[in-house]
Protein backbone atom coordinates (compact mmCIF):
# COMPACT_ATOMS: atom_id res chain seq x y z
CA UNK A 1 0.00 0.00 0.00
CA UNK A 2 1.50 3.27 -1.08
CA UNK A 3 0.79 6.72 0.24
CA UNK A 4 1.61 10.30 -0.63
CA UNK A 5 1.98 13.41 1.48
CA UNK A 6 0.58 16.75 0.32
CA UNK A 7 -0.38 20.20 1.55
CA UNK A 8 -4.00 20.29 2.72
CA UNK A 9 -6.55 22.07 0.51
CA UNK A 10 -9.93 23.62 1.38
CA UNK A 11 -11.68 20.42 0.26
CA UNK A 12 -9.86 18.51 3.01
CA UNK A 13 -11.51 20.25 5.98
CA UNK A 14 -14.08 17.50 6.59
CA UNK A 15 -11.32 14.86 6.69
CA UNK A 16 -9.24 17.10 8.95
CA UNK A 17 -12.14 17.48 11.37
CA UNK A 18 -12.79 13.72 11.26
CA UNK A 19 -9.17 12.99 12.16
CA UNK A 20 -9.09 15.72 14.85
CA UNK A 21 -12.12 14.03 16.46
CA UNK A 22 -10.55 10.55 16.16
CA UNK A 23 -7.39 11.78 17.88
CA UNK A 24 -9.44 13.51 20.60
CA UNK A 25 -11.31 10.22 21.11
CA UNK A 26 -7.95 8.43 21.51
CA UNK A 27 -7.08 11.02 24.20
CA UNK A 28 -10.54 10.45 25.74
CA UNK A 29 -11.56 14.07 25.19
CA UNK A 30 -13.84 13.82 22.13
CA UNK A 31 -16.62 15.96 23.65
CA UNK A 32 -14.20 18.89 23.94
CA UNK A 33 -14.00 19.35 20.16
CA UNK A 34 -16.31 22.28 19.45
CA UNK A 35 -14.58 23.49 16.28
CA UNK A 36 -16.61 23.32 13.06
CA UNK A 37 -15.67 22.73 9.40
CA UNK A 38 -16.62 26.34 8.68
CA UNK A 39 -14.11 27.61 11.28
CA UNK A 40 -11.40 25.25 10.02
CA UNK A 41 -11.99 26.61 6.53
CA UNK A 42 -11.86 30.29 7.53
CA UNK A 43 -8.93 29.85 9.90
CA UNK A 44 -6.77 27.68 7.65
CA UNK A 45 -7.55 28.87 4.16
CA UNK A 46 -8.38 32.56 4.51
CA UNK A 47 -6.11 35.60 4.07
CA UNK A 48 -4.16 34.83 7.24
CA UNK A 49 -3.88 31.10 7.86
CA UNK A 50 -3.65 30.36 11.57
CA UNK A 51 -2.54 26.78 10.92
CA UNK A 52 -1.15 24.55 8.15
CA UNK A 53 -1.81 20.88 7.47
CA UNK A 54 -0.01 18.08 5.66
CA UNK A 55 -2.27 15.20 4.63
CA UNK A 56 -1.31 11.54 4.16
CA UNK A 57 -3.37 10.02 1.38
CA UNK A 58 -3.48 6.40 0.20
CA UNK A 59 -2.33 5.65 -3.32
CA UNK A 60 -3.30 2.05 -3.87
CA UNK A 61 -4.27 -0.11 -6.82
CA UNK A 62 -7.38 -0.94 -4.80
CA UNK A 63 -9.67 1.76 -6.17
CA UNK A 64 -11.96 1.80 -3.13
CA UNK A 65 -9.09 2.95 -0.90
CA UNK A 66 -7.39 5.24 -3.36
CA UNK A 67 -7.34 8.86 -2.23
CA UNK A 68 -8.43 8.01 1.32
CA UNK A 69 -7.05 10.45 3.89
CA UNK A 70 -5.52 8.33 6.65
CA UNK A 71 -3.26 10.71 8.58
CA UNK A 72 -2.29 14.34 9.06
CA UNK A 73 -0.16 16.86 10.87
CA UNK A 74 -1.32 20.33 11.87
CA UNK A 75 1.42 22.88 12.54
CA UNK A 76 2.14 26.60 12.73
CA UNK A 77 5.11 28.85 13.41
CA UNK A 78 5.92 30.16 16.85
CA UNK A 79 8.69 32.38 18.17
CA UNK A 80 11.22 31.71 20.88
CA UNK A 81 12.73 35.04 22.00
CA UNK A 82 16.06 33.31 22.74
CA UNK A 83 16.59 31.56 19.41
CA UNK A 84 13.91 32.72 16.97
CA UNK A 85 11.41 30.88 14.77
CA UNK A 86 10.16 27.47 15.74
CA UNK A 87 7.86 25.00 14.04
CA UNK A 88 5.10 24.04 16.43
CA UNK A 89 3.57 20.62 15.86
CA UNK A 90 -0.02 20.92 17.10
CA UNK A 91 -1.59 17.66 15.95
CA UNK A 92 -0.10 14.46 14.59
CA UNK A 93 -2.26 11.43 13.86
CA UNK A 94 -2.35 8.32 11.67
CA UNK A 95 -5.46 6.10 11.72
CA UNK A 96 -4.94 2.92 13.72
CA UNK A 97 -5.30 0.49 10.83
CA UNK A 98 -2.65 2.33 8.79
CA UNK A 99 0.11 2.44 11.37
CA UNK A 100 3.41 0.59 11.14
CA UNK A 101 3.80 1.50 7.45
CA UNK A 102 6.13 4.45 7.91
CA UNK A 103 3.49 7.15 7.40
CA UNK A 104 4.23 8.74 10.79
CA UNK A 105 7.96 8.78 10.14
CA UNK A 106 7.30 10.17 6.68
CA UNK A 107 5.21 13.00 8.08
CA UNK A 108 7.84 13.84 10.68
CA UNK A 109 10.57 13.82 8.02
CA UNK A 110 8.47 16.13 5.83
CA UNK A 111 8.05 18.51 8.77
CA UNK A 112 11.77 18.41 9.51
CA UNK A 113 12.51 19.44 5.88
CA UNK A 114 9.96 22.21 6.19
CA UNK A 115 11.46 23.44 9.47
CA UNK A 116 14.93 23.57 7.92
CA UNK A 117 13.71 25.29 4.75
CA UNK A 118 11.94 27.98 6.77
CA UNK A 119 14.99 28.54 9.00
CA UNK A 120 13.41 27.30 12.21
CA UNK A 121 15.73 26.49 15.09
CA UNK A 122 13.65 23.59 16.36
CA UNK A 123 10.27 21.91 16.56
CA UNK A 124 8.10 21.97 19.68
CA UNK A 125 5.00 20.06 20.73
CA UNK A 126 3.22 18.77 23.82
CA UNK A 127 2.66 15.12 24.69
CA UNK A 128 0.41 13.75 27.44
CA UNK A 129 2.58 12.27 30.19
CA UNK A 130 0.74 8.93 30.06
CA UNK A 131 1.17 8.54 26.29
CA UNK A 132 4.13 6.14 26.44
CA UNK A 133 4.14 5.02 22.76
CA UNK A 134 4.28 8.63 21.53
CA UNK A 135 6.92 9.64 24.08
CA UNK A 136 9.10 6.77 22.90
CA UNK A 137 8.47 7.58 19.21
CA UNK A 138 9.71 11.13 19.77
CA UNK A 139 12.59 10.32 22.14
CA UNK A 140 13.95 7.81 19.60
CA UNK A 141 14.26 10.74 17.23
CA UNK A 142 16.06 13.00 19.70
CA UNK A 143 13.17 14.82 21.37
CA UNK A 144 13.77 16.21 24.85
CA UNK A 145 11.15 16.53 27.56
CA UNK A 146 11.47 20.21 28.50
CA UNK A 147 8.82 19.89 31.20
CA UNK A 148 11.01 17.33 32.94
CA UNK A 149 14.37 18.98 32.20
CA UNK A 150 13.51 22.63 32.67
CA UNK A 151 10.28 22.48 34.68
CA UNK A 152 7.98 24.24 32.19
CA UNK A 153 4.25 23.96 32.83
CA UNK A 154 1.53 24.86 30.32
CA UNK A 155 -1.11 27.27 31.59
CA UNK A 156 -4.35 28.48 30.14
CA UNK A 157 -6.74 31.42 30.56
CA UNK A 158 -10.13 30.34 29.28
CA UNK A 159 -12.31 32.80 27.40
CA UNK A 160 -14.31 33.48 30.57
CA UNK A 161 -11.18 34.51 32.44
CA UNK A 162 -10.12 36.74 29.53
CA UNK A 163 -13.48 38.50 29.48
CA UNK A 164 -13.25 39.03 33.24
CA UNK A 165 -9.80 40.57 32.89
CA UNK A 166 -10.77 42.83 30.01
CA UNK A 167 -12.63 46.13 30.14
CA UNK A 168 -16.31 45.50 30.91
CA UNK A 169 -18.51 45.99 27.83
CA UNK A 170 -20.43 49.27 27.65
CA UNK A 171 -24.04 48.96 28.83
Amino acid sequence: MDYKLRKAEPRDVSDILRLVKELAKYEEMEDQVTLTEKELLEDGFGDTPFYHCIIAELQGENSSDDGKVVGFVMYYFTYDPWVGKQLYLEEFYVMDEYRGMGIGSGLLRHLSDLAMNTRCTGMMFVVAENNEPSIQFYKLRGAEDLSQEEGWRLFRFSKNSLVKMGTPAEE
Binding site: T78, Y79, E90, Y138, D145, G151, F155, S158, L162
Partner: protein, 169 residues
Protein backbone atom coordinates in the same frame (compact mmCIF):
# COMPACT_ATOMS: atom_id res chain seq x y z
CA UNK B 1 3.55 58.66 41.18
CA UNK B 2 4.61 56.77 38.10
CA UNK B 3 2.68 57.21 34.91
CA UNK B 4 3.10 54.86 32.00
CA UNK B 5 1.69 54.08 28.60
CA UNK B 6 1.27 50.81 26.74
CA UNK B 7 1.71 50.78 22.99
CA UNK B 8 2.39 48.51 20.05
CA UNK B 9 6.13 47.98 19.53
CA UNK B 10 7.78 49.67 16.56
CA UNK B 11 11.00 48.82 14.66
CA UNK B 12 12.92 51.38 16.77
CA UNK B 13 12.08 49.37 19.90
CA UNK B 14 14.09 46.25 18.95
CA UNK B 15 17.14 47.13 21.04
CA UNK B 16 14.94 47.68 24.11
CA UNK B 17 13.08 44.43 23.40
CA UNK B 18 16.44 42.62 23.14
CA UNK B 19 17.59 44.15 26.42
CA UNK B 20 14.40 43.09 28.23
CA UNK B 21 14.53 39.56 26.74
CA UNK B 22 18.05 39.22 28.14
CA UNK B 23 17.01 40.60 31.54
CA UNK B 24 14.16 38.10 31.75
CA UNK B 25 16.46 35.25 30.67
CA UNK B 26 18.89 36.34 33.41
CA UNK B 27 16.02 36.21 35.94
CA UNK B 28 15.39 32.61 34.76
CA UNK B 29 19.16 31.94 35.03
CA UNK B 30 19.40 31.14 31.31
CA UNK B 31 20.99 34.33 29.92
CA UNK B 32 23.64 32.55 27.83
CA UNK B 33 20.91 30.77 25.86
CA UNK B 34 19.83 34.00 24.17
CA UNK B 35 21.43 33.82 20.71
CA UNK B 36 18.85 35.96 18.91
CA UNK B 37 20.10 39.29 17.52
CA UNK B 38 18.44 42.69 17.01
CA UNK B 39 18.61 42.00 13.27
CA UNK B 40 16.63 38.75 13.72
CA UNK B 41 14.09 40.55 15.90
CA UNK B 42 13.69 43.26 13.27
CA UNK B 43 13.23 40.88 10.32
CA UNK B 44 11.02 38.46 12.20
CA UNK B 45 8.75 41.02 13.88
CA UNK B 46 8.54 43.89 11.42
CA UNK B 47 8.86 42.28 7.99
CA UNK B 48 6.12 41.21 5.57
CA UNK B 49 5.10 38.34 7.79
CA UNK B 50 5.51 39.07 11.51
CA UNK B 51 6.23 35.94 13.53
CA UNK B 52 5.53 37.74 16.80
CA UNK B 53 3.90 40.89 18.16
CA UNK B 54 5.02 43.05 21.07
CA UNK B 55 3.37 45.41 23.47
CA UNK B 56 5.77 47.78 25.26
CA UNK B 57 5.35 49.75 28.50
CA UNK B 58 6.97 53.16 28.49
CA UNK B 59 7.57 55.73 31.25
CA UNK B 60 8.56 59.40 30.88
CA UNK B 61 12.36 59.78 30.61
CA UNK B 62 12.83 61.55 33.94
CA UNK B 63 11.32 58.66 35.90
CA UNK B 64 13.91 56.07 34.98
CA UNK B 65 17.24 56.07 36.85
CA UNK B 66 19.26 54.67 33.93
CA UNK B 67 17.44 56.67 31.28
CA UNK B 68 15.48 53.77 29.78
CA UNK B 69 11.95 54.67 28.83
CA UNK B 70 10.83 51.20 27.75
CA UNK B 71 10.56 49.31 31.03
CA UNK B 72 8.32 46.35 30.29
CA UNK B 73 6.98 44.27 27.43
CA UNK B 74 4.88 41.34 26.35
CA UNK B 75 5.66 39.21 23.28
CA UNK B 76 2.79 37.20 21.84
CA UNK B 77 1.52 35.48 18.68
CA UNK B 78 -1.49 33.48 17.57
CA UNK B 79 -1.65 29.71 17.77
CA UNK B 80 -4.35 27.17 16.96
CA UNK B 81 -6.08 24.55 19.05
CA UNK B 82 -7.82 22.03 16.76
CA UNK B 83 -10.56 21.52 19.37
CA UNK B 84 -11.54 25.16 19.92
CA UNK B 85 -9.70 27.29 17.35
CA UNK B 86 -7.53 30.40 17.65
CA UNK B 87 -5.54 31.12 20.78
CA UNK B 88 -3.38 34.03 21.87
CA UNK B 89 -0.03 32.66 22.98
CA UNK B 90 1.86 34.75 25.52
CA UNK B 91 5.54 34.04 24.92
CA UNK B 92 7.38 36.58 27.10
CA UNK B 93 6.06 38.92 29.78
CA UNK B 94 8.40 41.13 31.82
CA UNK B 95 8.43 44.37 33.80
CA UNK B 96 11.76 45.71 35.12
CA UNK B 97 12.15 45.18 38.86
CA UNK B 98 12.07 48.85 39.87
CA UNK B 99 8.74 49.35 38.06
CA UNK B 100 6.84 46.49 39.61
CA UNK B 101 3.88 46.86 41.97
CA UNK B 102 2.51 49.79 39.94
CA UNK B 103 -0.13 47.86 38.03
CA UNK B 104 1.87 47.73 34.78
CA UNK B 105 1.80 43.92 34.59
CA UNK B 106 -1.92 43.82 35.29
CA UNK B 107 -2.55 46.46 32.64
CA UNK B 108 -0.51 44.52 30.07
CA UNK B 109 -2.50 41.36 30.79
CA UNK B 110 -5.73 43.34 30.53
CA UNK B 111 -4.80 44.76 27.10
CA UNK B 112 -3.80 41.29 25.91
CA UNK B 113 -7.08 39.82 27.16
CA UNK B 114 -9.02 42.45 25.23
CA UNK B 115 -6.92 41.75 22.15
CA UNK B 116 -7.62 38.03 22.47
CA UNK B 117 -11.37 38.52 22.81
CA UNK B 118 -11.44 41.06 19.95
CA UNK B 119 -9.60 38.67 17.59
CA UNK B 120 -12.03 35.88 18.54
CA UNK B 121 -9.53 33.73 20.39
CA UNK B 122 -10.90 30.95 22.58
CA UNK B 123 -8.24 31.43 25.21
CA UNK B 124 -4.68 32.44 26.05
CA UNK B 125 -1.89 29.90 26.62
CA UNK B 126 1.56 30.38 28.12
CA UNK B 127 4.29 28.49 29.98
CA UNK B 128 5.46 29.10 33.52
CA UNK B 129 8.46 27.48 35.22
CA UNK B 130 7.21 25.25 38.03
CA UNK B 131 9.50 26.95 40.58
CA UNK B 132 8.28 30.45 39.68
CA UNK B 133 5.67 30.58 42.44
CA UNK B 134 5.19 34.36 42.30
CA UNK B 135 4.19 34.23 38.63
CA UNK B 136 2.05 31.13 39.16
CA UNK B 137 0.13 32.99 41.90
CA UNK B 138 -0.19 36.11 39.68
CA UNK B 139 -1.82 34.03 36.95
CA UNK B 140 -3.91 31.76 39.17
CA UNK B 141 -5.41 34.81 40.94
CA UNK B 142 -6.73 35.84 37.52
CA UNK B 143 -8.25 32.45 36.75
CA UNK B 144 -5.43 30.62 34.95
CA UNK B 145 -5.51 26.82 34.97
CA UNK B 146 -2.35 24.68 35.10
CA UNK B 147 -2.89 22.31 32.18
CA UNK B 148 0.29 20.39 32.94
CA UNK B 149 -1.08 19.55 36.39
CA UNK B 150 -4.69 19.05 35.34
CA UNK B 151 -4.29 17.28 32.02
CA UNK B 152 -0.72 15.97 32.17
CA UNK B 153 0.69 17.86 29.17
CA UNK B 154 4.48 17.93 28.85
CA UNK B 155 6.39 20.23 26.52
CA UNK B 156 8.86 18.52 24.19
CA UNK B 157 11.43 19.87 21.79
CA UNK B 158 13.39 18.41 18.87
CA UNK B 159 16.39 20.62 18.25
CA UNK B 160 17.87 21.56 14.89
CA UNK B 161 20.60 18.90 14.81
CA UNK B 162 18.06 16.14 15.37
CA UNK B 163 15.72 17.63 12.76
CA UNK B 164 18.63 17.55 10.30
CA UNK B 165 19.24 13.89 11.11
CA UNK B 166 15.65 13.14 10.17
CA UNK B 167 15.84 15.02 6.87
CA UNK B 168 18.80 12.96 5.70
CA UNK B 169 16.98 9.61 5.83
Amino acid sequence: MASFILRKAEPRDVSDIMRLIKELAKFEEMEEKVVLTEKDLLEDGFGDHPFYHCLVAEVPKLQSSEGYTVIGFAMYYFTYDPWIGKLLYLEDFYVMQEFRGLGIGSKILKVLSEKAVKTRCSGMHFLVAENNTKSIEFYKRRGAADLSSEEGWRLFEIEKEDLLKMTAK
